[in-house]
């Protein structure tokens, strides 16, 4: 007796489904904006306060392309090189697991169990703390392939990293993306427009200030970039909804702007 184990011929997707799926994919990508969501804050176990605050959703927003840079200075793309070395022994299990996951682009549950394997997965050649601002510590993780991961966390916390990004070198730092924003915004069902909880991120050499653009178009919360980082919180931030960020060079030239409120009904 013979059994037919051959496979059927290649088929097209049902009529209309290719277009429908492509549109769905684009919509899902737009929903997932910003494109490089570190998500570590969301992956942390929620505090009791967090669970009791049903109308507040904290979302870490990263970079969304808006306007290319103009007047880019000669030193805009200098690599960030300073800072104080941080021993990998200071990394908590959670730091290492999350860093390994973000560096490999996988879920934290998918990273290898052993610390050694996790470090190998990161391919780190060193970790530097480059700045502390407003109780927040900023780290650069150097990787063996020449790229970097960037992390920020509460100073003195047993977990060093609250948020981690591992952008491609072709993405940041570049003239098109001279800042790597790691700000936290709040969204509420009553008003879906984002409101800033914390403004923070990394900036390439040549970026002197980062400011916020409110929903009404006002430029505010002008924040200096020192040691390649910027940070502002509390009453330094506008309490009204925001549209995005803007970065300036030392001579006041606008280098870059970034939309944080991409929406058909409002925002940019």
């Amino acid at each position: 007796m013979t059994t037919d184990h051959s496979v059927p011929p290649l088929r097209e997707l049902p009529t209309g489904r290719l277009t429908q799926r492509a549109e769905h994919l684009r919509a899902e990508i737009a929903r997932s904006q910003p494109p490089r969501v570190p998500t570590l804050r969301r992956l942390r176990p929620q505090s009791r306060f967090g669970r009791l605050a049903p109308v507040v959703v904290a979302v870490v927003l990263a970079t969304v392309v808006a306007t290319p840079a103009f007047g880019v200075g000669r030193h805009l793309l200098d690599l960030i090189t300073g800072g104080t070395p941080v021993s990998t022994a200071r990394l908590s299990d959670q730091d290492l697991r999350f860093l390994s996951a973000v560096a490999k682009g996988v879920s934290p549950s998918d990273v290898p169990a052993s610390k050694r394997a996790q470090l190998d997965a990161v391919g780190s050649t060193g970790i530097r703390q480059i700045a502390v601002r407003d109780g927040r510590a900023f780290f650069v993780i150097d990787k063996s392939d020449g790229s970097h991961c960037y992390a920020v966390g509460d100073e003195g916390d047993s977990n060093l990293f609250g948020g981690i990004e591992c952008p491609a070198t072709s993405f940041f730092p570049t003239p098109a993306h001279p800042i790597l924003d790691m700000s936290v915004v709040r969204l509420s069902p009553a008003d879906p427009r984002p409101t800033l909880t914390r403004l923070e991120g990394f900036a390439a050499d040549g970026v002197a200030r980062v400011a916020v653009i409110t929903a009404s178009g006002q430029v505010t919360a002008d924040t200096p970039v020192i040691d390649n980082v910027y940070s502002a919180q509390g009453n330094q931030l506008p309490d009204q909804p925001i549209n995005g960020l803007v970065a300036f060079g030392a001579d006041g030239t606008q280098l870059y702007s970034q939309c944080l409120a991409r929406n058909a009904q409002f925002g940019c």
Binding site: T3, S6, R21, R31, P35, T63, G105
Partner: protein
């Protein structure tokens, strides 16, 4: 002729959703059929197609060699199919938002055709399931999707020699399990060719 794979991938890596959409349109059929040949279910294959590309978008920081986007997508598809439940959970919300299919003009005819496909695929998958997972993956990519050894190696992240040895073992085991496997008059020659020494 549209933009090159390398250019589309570089633009995707920089966050260009339109470039990524073009990559989707270019490779959707191939990945869709691969998912079907791994799952034996056209409807599930369609959902997995979406999951594969959402996962690819999530991993777009990956450096992919020029013109090797498709093998890289095969690698993602292989992982997605292998961890199907976890993948579906990860993108459950996105899948729920997928609009209902629009009615097709020749629905009945196509439906029969697809049911036939699923019936044809089932025994092949049942037999393949008797192999170790890594041999199943190599066999499906080499024999059913006709990828080169090099591309399979890239997709699975293993050396080319490993692909060759796994494929060889898979062929031998399949013959042991079912001597008729690959020697019958089938609808396509892919299995038969794959089993040729």
């Amino acid at each position: 002729m549209g933009p090159s794979e390398a250019s589309l991938w570089e633009r995707s890596r920089a966050g260009d959703a339109d470039a990524f959409g073009l990559l989707f349109e270019r490779h959707a059929k191939t990945i869709y059929n691969y998912c079907f040949r791994r799952l034996g279910d056209w409807s599930a294959a369609e959902d997995m197609l979406t999951v594969v590309f959402l996962e690819a978008w999530r991993r777009r920081d990956t450096e992919v060699q020029d013109d090797k986007v498709l093998p890289w997508l095969f690698g993602i598809a292989t992982n997605v199919v292998r961890n199907r439940r976890r993948s579906e959970r990860r993108f459950a919300a996105a899948l729920r938002r997928m609009p209902e299919p629009q009615p097709e003009a020749n629905f009945a005819e196509r439906s029969d055709e697809r049911l036939d496909d699923e019936a044809l695929m089932r025994p092949a998958l049942d037999l393949l399931a008797m192999l170790p997972r890594h041999e199943q993956e190599v066999f499906a990519l080499c024999a059913w999707m006709e990828l080169s050894y090099e591309d399979v190696a890239l997709a699975l992240g293993v050396p080319v020699g490993t692909v060759r040895s796994r494929l060889s073992r898979a062929r031998r085991r399949l013959r042991e399990l079912d001597p008729a496997f690959g020697h019958e008059e089938g609808r396509t020659a892919t299995v038969r060719e794959a089993l040729r020494p």
